[in-house]
């Protein structure tokens, strides 16, 4: 197992390098001059030259590439073109808000999705099952930013139960602020997790050991939770990784809808301001999270399913 772990970790390094290289290429083939974009059309030639010098844009491309890689390794992502703030500081300030939103949304989504899936599977082709099917159809079709806007208009603007924007201070206030955005993301998640749980449970219910459990007189809740759900959890761990990343991509729009601080809003604002240093930083953060989540999921498999450890 230790050997597999090491192999998997070693495998992640070239992936990270490849991602970083792609980011670098993408950021350098950009149309337009970043110096001109930052300083505006009225900038004087000496101002432009000074800016390029300051941002390290005047050296050959391969030197820029090495500097870029070195910067990432030493956690130095440069400064914002707009206000000179350190990109790393901007990320450090915004990342916790995105993590908070994602984690709360995941808890709510799984908390609702698993029971819904169990209900649909145990009442197959009856009302709860059809309800679940309709819910997942809508959950797949409705854009999360639209759902977020509807919740915002109804519960924050009209009923005034929740704050309209921001992230709040202190535990209770932050929870109050994160509730609606997280609920939005959790809705889509619950549909996905519910469908996955249902399919996975139905498959397990057909297995011999479930029939044996029933035959020896185990009560239905025990059959469902002890024999059914526990074995149905493995596909759910796959779903967990996918759904964590889906929540992360959804958080970009949701942070905008609820005007919350976060990496997504940081990135989108940077795009509108053409602040390339911050764009690059935001893209790197998202890319690294994706690589890490995939790595983590592989490791979770080993823990959950002993069969993988052997092979």
């Amino acid at each position: 197992m230790a050997r597999y772990l090491l192999l998997r970790l070693a495998d992640a390094i070239p992936t990270i390098w490849l991602v970083l290289t792609l980011v670098f290429i993408a950021m350098r083939i950009l149309p337009g001059d970043p110096a001109l974009a930052a300083l505006g059309d009225m900038a004087q030639p000496q101002e432009l030259a000074a800016f390029r010098e300051k941002m390290g844009l005047n050296v050959p491309l391969w030197q820029q590439y090495l500097q870029f890689l070195f910067g990432v390794v030493t956690l130095n992502l440069g400064q914002s073109y707009m206000n000179g703030q350190s990109v790393m500081q901007l990320i450090a300030y915004n990342l916790p808000y995105t993590i908070e939103l994602t984690v709360v949304a995941m808890i709510m989504g799984f908390g609702a999705g698993i029971p819904l899936g169990v209900m649909a599977a145990t009442h197959r082709n009856k009302l709860p099952d059809s309800g679940m099917r309709l819910f997942s159809l809508i959950g797949y079709a409705i854009p999360d930013f639209y759902l977020g806007a509807l919740l915002l208009i109804t519960f924050a603007l009209n009923l005034k139960w929740f704050p309209i924007n921001g992230a709040g201070e202190g535990f209770a206030d932050r929870l109050h602020h994160v509730f609606l955005p997280a609920l939005t993301l959790a809705f889509v998640k619950a549909a996905f997790i519910g469908r996955l749980t249902r399919a996975s449970l139905l498959e397990v219910f057909g297995k011999d050991y479930v029939r044996t459990a029933r035959a020896k007189g185990a009560r239905e809740p025990r059959v469902i939770y002890r024999h059914g759900l526990r074995n149905a959890l493995l596909p759910l761990t796959t779903g967990m990784g996918l759904s964590l990343l889906a929540t992360l991509s959804g958080s970009v729009a949701i942070e905008l809808v609820f005007n919350r601080p976060g990496i997504g809003r940081l990135l989108i604002n940077a795009i509108t301001e053409r602040d390339y240093a911050v764009i690059q930083g935001g893209v790197i953060v998202f890319a690294m999270v994706v690589v890490l989540v995939n790595l983590l999921m592989d490791l979770v498999y080993i823990v959950v399913d002993p069969r993988i450890r052997v092979s």
């Binding site: 797949y140 854009p143 639209y146 806007a149 208009i153 309209i164 991509s249 935001g282």
Partner: protein, 298 residues
Amino acid sequence: MSTMDEEIRLDAPQELAAAPSKLMVVRETLLQRPATIFATIAVVVFILVAVFAPVLAPYDPLTQSVLNINKSPSPEHWLGTDQFGRDVLSRMIYGSRNSLLFGLISPVLAAFIGTTLGVVAGYFGGVVDRVISRLIDLLLAFPELLLAIMIAAALGGGFWNIIAVITIAFTPGFARVARASTLAVKQESYVEAGVAVGLNTPLLIFRHIVPNIAAPIVVLMTLWVASAIRLEASLSFLGIGTQPPNPSWGNIIRDGLNNLFGSPWPIVAAGLAITCVVLAFNVFGDALRDVLDPETRQ
């Protein structure tokens, strides 16, 4: 697929077994279930609205009017007006054109590029396969929306950029399916026979491999029309898709959020339109899959 007719015959009702023409199967599958009928109607209406937008729209979607700001729905403006006094219904109708364009073009382009990559990787194997597969695996690790946001961050908005963004986001999925199918088809005896009689490689690929992996690709393409429409809406909402003042369902919602205290109607209408069209294409795509690729039917 050579076995497809048999497959359909097996799945089709008995009275069809005598002459299961493709058209009849299509009709049966599309018209049997009420949900599919509604979805088909919705898809047709959506396409008609997009095509005949200039005829249907009561106003110009870009004309602003200071006197008509934030009006609620009325007989003159069915969906009211926005913060610039533009008619929301007209913007919605014109916005459908963007959805349709991106919804159709990107999956087709992605299917073309992805299939090419997948077939090349699967057919030639070796280093080529390893490089392409590595890249596909890497890109597949990213959710499409996140990948699109990251690429759009570098490219910026505008028509061709959005096409490029959505296409790149979808390409790896097609490449994976095409590669796997090619690997399977390559083992078939008719391909081996082709090699044995000395057919040249392009002929072998285009005559014998591509037609035999087409079904799953086409199915994937129809299912991704819905995803492409949703992706365009998301990008436009984020301000990195269709650029204002050009209307798109996504940026109508964006404008609506900037005008929360004005009128909620643009948000409600545009979001409902996206939801319904995506839902319709999903149901429609599922039905089409049952026709084209009966093996995957549950």
